[in-house]
């Protein structure tokens, strides 16, 4: 059995001339919480829809739990909880939705459903269309969790939720689900939330997967370095960005900090600062080079 819960190979999706996904190679380890980050329209939802069998890939392949997306959809859907559009059957109450769902999933657990309904404080006797946005999202998550899946795939689960509800949801995801060794793939552009719970991160922009690594490795590798001096290097594989302002040059490095610093010093440069970077800063450097449409939170 493969150690990967999800694997895509050269996954490509075209809408007419537009490449929504361009040869994306993604690897989600079993038991991990994978934060799938990107701006609006970056290709996150398209990827998740292909994994769910809702849209076919133009080329390339995607495997979910060792099964081929688009071919083995029934098995994938039986073993994976998908929350994509956060829209259920609007005229049904929470209780009716539980009954409706139960018959579809051999691993469905009424006990789990009851527990999450209590934990998440969802009014189960109210029609879905009459629930608040937060309760709608919670009910979607409840249905996915009660099917006892091996893998949860969530598209922007915390978008437009208040901080309290967000915290409640994330706690359930981490403490109840992921701690059992199960896998979560969660797309988001709320970087601070992902940084709180994810152990792997993939950053996608304009259909290209720019980065995929353990969050700890990313934090350890990326550095912001401010230097002054003559004959500073303009490009090298480890330099992600370089900006000069008022005699101070700022580099963002994606690897090789020690060797780079040693080389700078050997060339007579003065190193003013070496700063660690958080996920938001890294995201901005990777994705927001043009500084267009970068989420406010990412800029903070």
């Amino acid at each position: 059995m493969t150690d990967l819960a999800i694997q895509t190979h050269a996954l490509t999706k075209h809408y007419g001339p537009l490449a929504a996904l361009d040869r994306v190679n993604m690897h989600v380890e079993r038991g991990s919480i994978y934060g799938f980050l990107g701006r609006n329209g970056a290709g996150k939802t398209t990827t998740l829809r292909i994994l769910a069998g809702l849209a076919p890939a133009t080329s390339g392949s995607a495997h979910v739990l060792g099964l081929v997306a688009g071919r083995d959809n029934i098995e994938i859907l039986e073993r994976t909880g998908f929350v994509i559009d956060k829209m259920l059957l609007p005229y049904m109450t929470g209780r009716e939705l539980l009954r409706f769902n139960r018959g579809f999933f051999p691993t469905w657990s009424d006990a789990l459903a009851r527990r999450y309904a209590e934990t998440l404080e969802i009014p189960m006797d109210r029609k879905f269309k009459k629930l608040s946005h937060g309760n709608k999202t919670k009910l979607c998550l409840l249905l996915a969790l009660a099917q006892s899946p091996e893998l949860l795939i969530l598209d922007e689960p915390t978008s437009s939720l208040d901080p309290l509800v967000t915290d409640q949801l994330l706690r359930v995801l981490v403490e109840d689900f992921a701690n059992d060794g199960r896998t979560i793939l969660m797309s988001s552009h709320h970087l601070s939330e992902v940084e709180k719970i994810a152990d792997w991160v993939g950053i996608i922009d304009r259909g290209h997967l720019l980065l995929e690594a353990r969050l700890d490795d990313i934090r350890a590798r990326y550095r912001r370095i401010r230097v002054t001096g003559e004959q500073l290097p303009a490009t090298s594989p480890e330099i992600l960005t370089r900006q000069t302002s008022e005699g101070v040059t700022e580099y963002v490095l994606c690897a090789g900090e020690e060797k780079f610093l040693a080389d700078l010093r050997a060339n007579g440069a003065t190193v003013l600062e070496v700063l660690p970077m958080n996920l938001s800063e890294i995201f901005v450097e990777l994705v927001g080079k043009e500084k267009n449409n970068v989420p406010v939170e990412a800029m903070a």
């Binding site: 809702l54 849209a55 259920l88 059957l89």
Partner: protein, 262 residues
């Protein structure tokens, strides 16, 4: 599970349609029969046969219109409705094939149509049998200038099949349209296609009188015979062709649904 969802979405239509049809046709069958029989003092057998055939044809057309209208409304319930409500991705991430959802939708509505048509026509049939029994006549109608007879049961069976096929075509076409444009209002497209068909029929009738488009309601009897009712030619082939269309429509819908990106 899924059928309970369909029942939930369409139960008002179903109950109203069933009650309306049962009351309407039971009433019509009894009242018309007795009025006709009472009006004709000591009716001759030919007058009785004429009244029965007239009633059967009245049943065929009125029932076709009512049931088809209900089938048209029912087409708005199902996967197309879920697309329109943005719950399509939820529904289609339940572990079933898309074809499973489609054939459940189709089978559920067609079964309801069949049950309502059967129940209504059984009441009608019993009423007619009662009239024949009162008149001590065998419950059969001579056709083809008296060269053959068909039982009233067979006549009502033909009526039921014709109604089922008409409603099946209208339901299937409207359902196809809801999947095509991905919302309940697709039924309007279905109605538009039917209207276009009628207009085309009218245009052809005007400019090319020899060309006749088949009507939506199958003709059981040939028109223009003064020697009594005459069964339409090629009735079996006509039934088979219409049944093929009824079945082809969900298969065509499946082709669209299987390729749809959600």
């Amino acid at each position: 599970m899924y059928l309970s969802k369909l029942w939930r979405e369409g139960r008002i239509f179903t109950i109203l349609a069933a009650v309306a049809l049962l009351l309407f046709f039971a009433g019509v069958a009894r009242i018309n029969s007795f009025v006709n029989m009472a009006h004709l003092q000591n009716p001759t057998p030919d007058q009785v046969y004429g009244a029965v055939v007239g009633l059967a044809m009245g049943l065929l057309y009125s029932e076709s219109i009512l049931i088809s209208f209900w089938g048209w409304l029912s087409a708005g319930i199902g996967v197309g409705k879920n697309f329109g409500e943005d719950s399509g991705s939820y529904l289609l991430t339940r572990p079933r094939t898309r074809a499973w959802f489609l054939w459940n939708d189709w089978g559920y509505t067609m079964a309801q149509i069949a049950i309502i048509v059967t129940a209504t026509n059984l009441i009608f049939l019993l009423a007619i049998h009662h009239i024949f029994a009162l008149m001590h006549m065998p419950a059969a109608v001579p056709v083809d200038a008296g060269s053959a007879t068909i039982s009233v049961t067979f006549l009502i069976l033909l009526v039921s099949i014709a109604v089922l096929l008409c409603a099946g075509i209208i339901y299937g076409l409207s359902y196809f349209s809801t999947i095509l444009i991905r919302r309940t209002s697709g039924v309007m497209l279905g109605a538009g296609i039917l209207l276009g068909y009628f207009i085309l029929g009218g245009v052809l009738h005007h400019y090319a009188p020899s060309v006749h488009l088949p009507g939506l309601v199958m003709n059981i009897f040939a028109h223009g015979h003064h020697t009594g009712p005459q069964l339409s030619g090629g009735l079996a082939a006509n039934i088979l062709a219409r049944a093929a269309v009824v079945l082809a429509l969900p298969f065509a819908t499946q082709l669209i649904l299987d390729r749809a990106e959600i």
